[in-house]
């Protein structure tokens, strides 16, 4: 177990006794397995310049035990799914008689750094692709296999595996060039109030991070830790599932996972976290 400093403990105790609805993110450092040093608190990215004073990973907004779970792969239940995906990586599927490893060989070598730059522009398809879309493109075009469900466990586990080998590397998605149109669309969505509660993403995650929304501690809403193992549903959760949950909570009709709207939103939100380390699979409550 990792120890928080006595000062941190005092601070949070003070916040509770004061009865304030504000709970500062906890100061702590994240080192996974004693070797991967994570950047979890850093300078604002270009996207959020003038909007946020600093970038803070969602890790800092969670409890001591939850933070400790992510610091060790044995304690991180998300790694169970990564292990399953490692098996899938080497499993031949589809008419072409190929597995992921037929082309990409060792995942730790070939996929290093990939998570950090997605979503990104695909030159051939002339579209912005999320990691999920790329996995399915590989499956249907190269393996001639059935695509996986966008937020299925198999898909999210595979994304977690690909993400896990990039842990510690800074998120660095492109926002200009061919993706700029999609990025603008995502930004538009981020600041659009939706639902009966008329809340935009920014109302919670930009204006009110650090405060409590009922029992939940609002983070800055970065997606550098996705897929996320959530203690509340004991499984890996994909970015689009999380978007869906958030929009539903504003009492709005949500977009579908994998829809152009969510792809655009993912690109924009990912770029807000440029500079934070890739953490996925992370652990949250």
């Amino acid at each position: 177990m990792r120890k928080t400093t006595a000062i941190t403990a005092l601070l949070s105790a003070g916040a509770i006794t004061a009865g304030a609805a504000y709970a500062e993110p906890v100061e702590d450092t994240l080192v996974v397995n004693g070797e991967i040093e994570m950047t979890t608190w850093t300078e604002p990215s270009e996207t959020v310049e003038g909007k946020l004073l600093e970038l803070i990973s969602g890790w800092h907004f969670r409890g001591t035990e939850t933070r400790a779970m992510q610091a060790d792969d044995f304690d991180n239940s998300g790694m169970i799914f990564v292990q399953d995906a490692k098996d899938a990586w080497n499993t031949v599927e589809g008419d072409a008689g190929k597995s992921c490893s037929s082309c990409h060989e060792d995942v730790a070598g070939s996929m290093k750094g990939v998570r950090a730059v997605y979503p990104k522009w695909n030159e051939d398809a002339e579209e912005v692709r999320t990691l999920e879309m790329q996995v399915n493109a590989c499956r249907t075009e190269n393996m001639e296999a059935e695509p996986l469900g966008y937020t299925s466990t198999d898909m999210t586990s595979m994304v977690a595996l690909i993400s896990s080998v990039s842990r510690g590397m800074p998120v660095d998605v492109a926002t200009d060039g061919p993706v700029s149109e999609t990025w603008e669309a995502g930004k538009e969505l981020y600041y659009t109030r939706t639902g009966q509660l008329e809340l935009s993403c920014a109302n919670c995650h930009e204006d009110n991070y650090g405060r409590m929304i009922r029992a939940d501690h609002l983070s800055q809403g970065h997606i550098n830790g996705f897929p996320v193992y959530r203690l509340k549903n004991t499984k890996l959760n994909s970015v689009h599932d999380r978007f869906k949950g958030c929009i539903r909570d504003t009492r709005a009709e949500t977009f579908a996972p994998g829809s152009p709207e969510f792809v655009a939103l993912e690109l924009y939100v990912a770029s807000r976290g440029n500079g934070l380390s890739v953490e996925g699979p992370s652990v949250r409550n």
């Binding site: 044995f74 304690d75 239940s77 169970i80 004991t234």
Partner: protein
């Protein structure tokens, strides 16, 4: 039949005689309680791991009875004194009759 059951153990590979070492175990398992119903209203049958044991060179270290209220992917962490070099043997007993085993060897430092 529970799927994707995978036992995992983290134990030191080296210790001095008489050392107390920390052992962590986790097995991925849905731990279906038998209390839930599916969308048609039928009870989902109970399917849990009901016993977990750890032995060292044949001697019992812990023997745990588990009940349906235990959550998915049961995790156990405990300390054990290592008197000599040898093997920890971990065994999980599933409701469906399956037995999952794992071992971890310790050498003297």
């Amino acid at each position: 039949m529970a799927e994707n059951v995978r036992p995992r153990v983290k134990a030191p590979r080296q210790a001095s005689a008489g050392d107390s070492v920390t052992i962590k175990t986790l097995i991925s398992h849905p731990m279906e309680s038998g209390q839930r119903k599916d969308s048609d209203g039928n009870t989902i049958p109970r399917s849990i791991i009901h016993r977990f044991t750890c032995e060292f060179n044949g001697e019992m270290v812990v023997d745990v009875t588990m009940e349906p209220a235990i959550s998915t992917n049961p995790y156990f962490e405990f300390d054990a004194v290592v008197p000599e070099a040898g093997d920890f043997k971990f065994t999980w007993y599933d409701d469906d009759g399956d037995v999952y085993e794992d071992t971890s060897s310790v050498v003297m430092a």
